[in-house]
């Protein structure tokens, strides 16, 4: 890990980002925060429907918000990469970062399980239909894991071995 961090820190890209940190970091943080709002709003809406709330909304209609969540996740992935590439030593040994990655994996696998095994069947559900238990579990896991990603992401600056100023 240390070898990787040391190599990454000295790449041209990392040096370029470090050089432009004064505007690049606030810009990417702002986009990262806007992205998390869109992700929570759009994915949260679908998750609540999976949990059986807002039954007047057909599941396939709620599904039309999911591309917004995916786009937001993509923005946050790119801006997150900028953080990682420019300051790898802040993240490599950060407990909160690894919990964030863990819950990102949980959220991602959970979403893939829905898409692969349940979407075809569930998206044909009529409006006002309750959702089966499997859908409620997937919705609950999704909601909980996205908030866990947010929680551990926000705690990253406070669990850096030597604290940094970015708050």
């Amino acid at each position: 890990m240390d070898v990787f961090v040391n190599w990454l820190q000295l790449t041209q890209l990392s040096l370029l980002f470090q050089d432009q940190v004064a505007w690049l970091w606030p810009l990417c943080e702002s986009l990262h925060f806007l992205g998390l709002c869109v992700l929570i709003g759009a994915a949260g809406f679908f998750d609540l429907r999976l949990l059986g709330l807002m039954r007047a909304v057909p599941l396939r209609t709620a599904w039309t918000l999911v591309p917004w969540a995916k786009a937001a996740l993509f923005v946050n992935f790119l801006t997150g990469l900028v953080f990682l590439i420019s300051q790898p030593e802040q993240y490599a040994r950060n407990v909160s970062m690894w919990f964030k990655v863990l819950f990102l994996l949980v959220a991602g696998i959970n979403a893939l399980v829905f898409e692969w095994f349940y979407s075809r069947r569930l998206l044909t559900l009529e409006s006002h239909a309750d959702t089966p238990l499997a859908a409620k579990v997937i919705g609950g896991v999704s909601l909980a894991s996205w908030f866990a990603v947010l929680y551990f992401g926000r705690m990253i600056p406070y669990l850096v071995p030597d604290p940094v100023s970015g708050v």
Partner: protein
């Protein structure tokens, strides 16, 4: 600069609560309060975003009445953010009270909340407005809402940079 606000701000900043928020050697103080503020932000802005998108014609097949409990979500998260916001203000009251970007953020929140209130009245108020076509004014306020929630979020983030 008159004495009164500075004296008041100094008293705020020296209060036991402010000292605890800013100085306690526990992740439960400033870091957790800040994280709750971010969770609240995501719920307030995320829910308003869904309402705005629906008003602008996304997910058109979703009946408007399905969003009738959204205010509960928005206002409870907003309450969390008002409380955590005050707590986060306290330890650096003397500095934040003179930070322009802080007032930009507050102004953006005020405009965004006004837009939300207008949308609610125009579209969601009662069975009549729910059944009627969405008025153009509501669509305008949905765009205003999106712009000013974006502004509030970015200004909040920039408070760490533009001191």
């Amino acid at each position: 600069m008159p004495d009164f606000p500075m004296e008041f701000l100094t008293r705020l900043q020296d209060s036991a609560l402010a000292q605890w928020v800013g100085g306690a050697e526990t992740l439960l103080a400033y870091p957790t309060i800040l994280t709750l503020h971010t969770v609240g932000l995501s719920i307030v802005v995320g829910t308003c975003l869904v309402i705005d998108l629906r008003v602008l014609g996304v997910a058109r097949q979703a009946p408007l009445s399905a969003l009738r409990r959204a205010p509960l979500l928005i206002w409870s998260a907003f309450l969390v953010n008002a409380v955590t916001g005050v707590l986060l203000f306290l330890p650096s009251a003397e500095q934040k009270a003179f930070q322009t970007i802080f007032y930009v953020k507050l102004a953006c929140i005020a405009v965004a909340l006004f837009a939300y209130a207008r949308i609610w009245t125009l579209v969601f108020r009662d069975a009549g407005t729910l059944a009627a076509p969405i008025p153009r004014e509501a669509r305008t306020f949905a765009v205003v809402s999106l712009i000013f929630w974006t502004g509030a979020t970015v200004a909040g983030r920039l408070m760490a940079y533009i001191l």
